[in-house]
């Protein structure tokens, strides 16, 4: 519980190693007034909505009331508001409080103990790898080392769902594209039924007509892929450095904010154009077959 001279509210108090925390979290970036923790014992950081609720400004006194870890005795400690942060999601800004680790250990009677150590990997993929030896080395009877996906299964589930949703949307897009190709090829054939009729009348075989339509589809696919790859590369390259603004949201206590940065990969420039080309050719088979079966005498009526 945290109290000012005017009001009181419940809170979730984190004691953090101010210097090390800079390497694993973004608290310092969220400070909008005052300053990040410097190691002074009575420093305290609260969110903007909490500051408004408690009607406090920088330098004002705040009292934290908590139960000690071992004995559950009620203890109180005085702090001076040194910084106000704003992560974005109201739940976080209304409830979180940060103080220095030493002070937290002293207030809560933890005597130099910790209950959570965050490790940041150079390769983010390592953090998802439950088989990483580090997790086993750090796990014993008293401690448990887990990757973030195990610690935050709801985010893992959300990402998995996002993966399925992307696959479904991708499939729908591919189906729509193939319908578009079939439509374009049919329009192109209907506009040229007369030409196909003449071509057949003077000796073009049905198989040659099929080859012609498939060749046109191949050209359509190649030109589309070239255009798509160029536009995709330029946009991907731009957003890989500038990012796509995504706003701020909180999922299971984790802040997802800032920009979403695209990542260009070779397979995207090889596999997807190959899928599109194959899809276009497959979609053109029916129109090609239709064109090959055009009856010259009926097609030539269009000239009259």
């Amino acid at each position: 519980m945290i109290a000012s001279s005017y009001n009181t509210t419940g809170s979730l108090v984190y004691g953090v190693d101010a210097k090390q925390e800079l390497r694993v979290s973004r608290i310092s970036e969220a400070i909008i007034e005052g300053q990040y923790l410097s190691g002074e014992p009575r420093e305290i950081l609260i969110g903007k909505p909490m500051a408004e609720l408690l009607e406090v400004e920088l330098g004002d006194r705040l009292i934290i009331t908590a139960a000690t870890v071992d004995t559950n005795e009620i203890t109180q400690e005085l702090f001076r508001l040194s910084g106000i942060f704003e992560f974005g999601p109201e739940e976080m800004d209304k409830n979180l409080v940060f103080i220095n680790l030493d002070k937290a250990q002293s207030v809560l009677g933890m005597k130099g103990n910790l209950h959570q150590i965050a490790v940041r990997f150079i390769d983010p993929e390592d953090a998802k790898n439950a088989e990483l030896p580090l997790f086993k080395q750090l796990t014993n009877e008293e401690n448990e080392a887990l990757g973030w996906l195990d610690l935050q299964p709801s985010i893992g589930a959300m990402l998995e769902m996002t993966g399925y949703a992307t696959a479904i949307v991708g499939t729908i897009l591919f189906l729509l594209t193939s319908l578009g190709v079939i439509n374009s090829m049919f329009m192109s054939i209907y506009e040229r039924i007369y030409e196909f009729g003449v071509a057949k009348a003077i000796g073009t075989t049905p198989w040659q007509i099929i080859q012609l339509v498939l060749f046109e589809a191949l050209l359509l696919a190649l030109i589309s892929c070239a255009a798509g790859l160029t536009i995709g590369y330029l946009l991907g390259d731009y957003f890989s450095t500038n990012g796509i603004p995504m706003g701020k949201m909180e999922v299971s206590g984790v802040l997802l904010d800032g920009n979403l940065y695209t990542k260009l990969a070779l397979y995207q420039f090889v596999n997807f154009p190959a899928y599109v080309t194959l899809l276009t050719l497959a979609a053109a088979i029916y129109p090609a077959s239709f064109a090959s079966r055009i009856v010259p005498t009926e097609a030539l009526q269009r000239a009259l």
Partner: protein, 228 residues
Amino acid sequence: MTNLIETRDLCRTFGSEETKVTALDHVSINIEQGEFTAIIGPSGSGKTTLLHLIGGLDEPNSGSVTLSGSNIADMSGNQLSDFRRDHIGFIFQAYNLIPVLSAEENIEYIMLLQGISAAERKKRVKEMLELVELDGLGDRRPSHLSGGQQQRVAVARAMASKPDIILADEPTANLDSKTGISLLDVMRDLNQKRKMTFVFSTHDEKIMDRATRLIYLRDGKVERDERK
């Protein structure tokens, strides 16, 4: 003389039961190699339908068409196209040139299908354009040619593949008298020098005058067949 074209009891009807129109009714004719034949008759007598059936552009309801000893009903779609490409030249009343190709390309197209070399194609295109007196206009598209010029291109296209038979459907119908005579003279010359067989469907007296044989059609039946 050998029979180049032979039709037996050829029947062709159009429309459903209620609107049925009999275009050809048991037509049997033989055309020999080198003949300059005109099929004549009033509109709706079945002239164009007969040409289409002879050329394999349409299928009869019954009866058979034999070209150079081959029954076209026995041919697959690809075989029939190959046969048309190598043995038959078509000249249509409405020219039926491919509008997106130039005059030269229209003439060259069929030779491309025949697999003729680029040099030979170029040579023949030049020859054909000279023959139909269109040299210098080869790069024009059909929309930039007069009716007479388009029909000359159609004649050149039909002859470029060196077919055995040329089927011409009212080839002079859209031409002025002078142009029509000029084209007919070209075709008659080819018939005499190269023994190319011509079958016309026509009302045109100029063709009738030049034809060596006249087949009269009326209501889908052969009314008279005269050799001059």
